[in-house]
């Protein structure tokens, strides 16, 4: 049974939400909670999706809501996305136009 939970880790001052292999309706609520937790620690944070192979609109919904909230607070969300299926879904939904994404965690953290 794959682990479908989300962790919030700290890379220095920057919270990093680490997402599991699958994000869908069954764990979207947990995703929202993790995003809220990260936002509570810092207006700008990273979502590391390098382990994620599947993300449907439930996951995107959670990210969009968090992204809008962060923007409203003067902050920013940065994604680390590596898998082709996730990149594809982000391209189709136009989400890649809305949010900055990187192929490596250190790149996402390095940006001021």
């Amino acid at each position: 049974m794959p682990d479908l939970s989300f962790r919030v880790e700290m890379a220095g001052d920057v919270p990093v939400v680490v997402t599991p292999e699958d994000i869908d309706i069954t764990n979207a609520a947990a995703f929202r909670t993790a995003l809220l937790e990260a936002a509570g620690r810092s207006r700008t944070f990273v979502v590391d999706m390098s382990r994620t192979q599947f993300c449907d609109t439930a996951g995107i919904h959670a990210l969009v809501a968090a992204h809008k909230q962060a923007g409203g607070d003067g902050g920013d969300i940065r994604l680390v996305v590596t898998s082709a299926p996730v990149l594809r879904i982000f391209a189709i939904t136009g989400f890649d136009q809305a949010i900055s994404s990187f192929s490596r965690l250190d790149q996402a953290l390095a940006t001021p």
């Binding site: 699958d22 309706i25 995107i60 939904t93 136009g94 136009q97």
Partner: protein, 410 residues
């Protein structure tokens, strides 16, 4: 703290539980609450009892049932969360006992107009969330005891569970009724075209998928397919609003990007939390060309006679509700006589543990330039088969008829 007489409390608890169990077996919601309140009043020897339920969209507590205080319900009392007696209980998740009832302690004038001298209220909690407030009042001064409070909290727990299950059931029924009324079962008759469609609700909670097809006053055919994020009644309601708004904007412009842009602006302003993918296509009179814009939705599949079906080459545009302002690209595709266009939602092609391209390939292999109804059947057989889909599926096929009706310069 006042000493509690365990015998009398336990006795009251047992008789109360027996009554509420019997009451809960009844299905009628108003009667159930009314009965609970009557028993509450009796067992606590109070003069009034009332339930206010939280309306999440407005943040107001609405008086729903009352015994000895029916005016609250009949006069449509609404209390904002955080304000007044009930509002404070809901905001703090904590009971409140008042020894003085007047305009300084409560918001609702009915309470002191009635002559209530003491009030005790508790939050109604279900699934960790406050869904309402239950309160009892006395027309003579009274010190509510810890035992009274405990009884009221127990009652509130029962009432909350009953309300929750009634609401969930009511929502399911309402969502289904709404869906049935919105997703059209009859497709318009269009000269020179064949239309066919399928709509299958998923096994999960009802979603917000829809398709729509209509002729425009200037003779074009408008085609919509969409998918509202979320599920249940809330998604169905948003879907209905989007369908309606899109139709209105479609009457004003045959530019699909303009229609989607206006829809997006409307949703962002009035329903900023809503998110959806939508495809809107305008097919010219004569059916020789299609102009299509995408809001985060998959492109249509097109099968031309004698060729394998392919995903139409349509550039992506952002989802509705994403907060972006950029105009979406419009792609124009020729539609030769006999060609079949296939519009769908992601429930048809998405499978857990699979790359999306596999599902899209499977769809393309199943679509051929045959009569629309047969094409629908073939696609559903190939992609759904006998597997229940968790997500909703909406599928719409439009075929330009071959032969004389087809345009000579296609």
């Amino acid at each position: 703290m006042t000493a509690v007489d365990p015998v009398s409390v336990e006795g009251r608890l047992r008789s109360f539980q027996a009554i509420t169990d019997a009451a809960l077996s009844r299905l009628d919601d108003r009667d159930l609450l009314a009965e609970l309140l009557d028993r509450t009043r009796e067992i606590l020897r109070a003069d009034t009892a009332a339930v206010l339920l939280l309306d999440f969209s407005s943040g107001h507590l609405i008086a729903t049932a009352a015994a000895g205080l029916e005016e609250e319900v009949r006069q449509g009392v609404r209390i904002p969360v955080g304000r007044g007696f009930a509002g404070q209980i809901a905001a703090q998740h904590q009971p409140v006992i008042l020894d003085r009832v007047d305009h300084t302690t409560v918001l609702n004038p009915i309470l002191w107009a009635k002559g209530i001298q003491s009030l005790m209220g508790v939050p109604m909690v279900a699934g960790g969330k406050v869904i309402g407030v239950l309160h009892v009042g006395s027309l003579t001064h009274r010190k509510f005891t810890a035992g009274d409070l405990e009884l009221l909290q127990l009652t509130a727990g029962r009432a909350a569970a009953a309300v929750q299950s009634m609401t969930a059931q009511a929502d399911r029924v309402a969502a289904t009724a709404l869906q049935h009324s919105l997703v059209p079962s009859a497709l318009p008759a269009v000269a020179g075209a064949e239309l066919a469609a399928r709509y299958v609700p998923g096994t999960g909670a009802l979603g917000g998928d829809w398709y729509d097809v209509f002729t425009l006053p200037s003779g074009e055919l408008g085609v919509t397919v969409g998918d509202v994020a979320g599920s249940g009644l809330a998604a169905a309601v948003i879907m209905g609003r989007m369908r309606s708004a899109l139709r209105a904007y479609a009457l004003d412009s045959t530019d699909p990007a303009e229609v989607l842009g206006k829809l997006d602006r409307k949703m962002q302003h009035f329903e900023p939390d809503a998110l959806a993918t939508v495809l809107y296509a305008v097919i010219e009179p004569g059916l020789g060309q299609m102009h299509v814009a995408l809001a985060g939705h998959f492109p249509p599949v097109i099968a031309r006679p004698g060729e394998a079906a392919v995903l139409a080459d349509v550039r992506p545009g952002s989802m509705i509700g994403m907060g972006l302002q950029a105009r979406r690209p419009v792609s124009t595709l020729p539609v030769p006589p006999g060609a079949l266009l296939c519009f769908y939602t992601d429930g048809l092609v998405e499978r857990r543990g699979e790359v999306i391209d596999d599902g899209l390939d499977r769809l393309c292999r199943a679509v051929t330039a045959e009569p629309a109804e047969a094409a629908c059947a073939a696609v559903m057989a190939a992609l759904v088969g006998n597997e229940p889909a968790r997500d909703d599926i909406a599928l719409l096929m439009v075929r330009r008829q071959a032969g004389k009706e087809g345009d000579a310069d296609a």
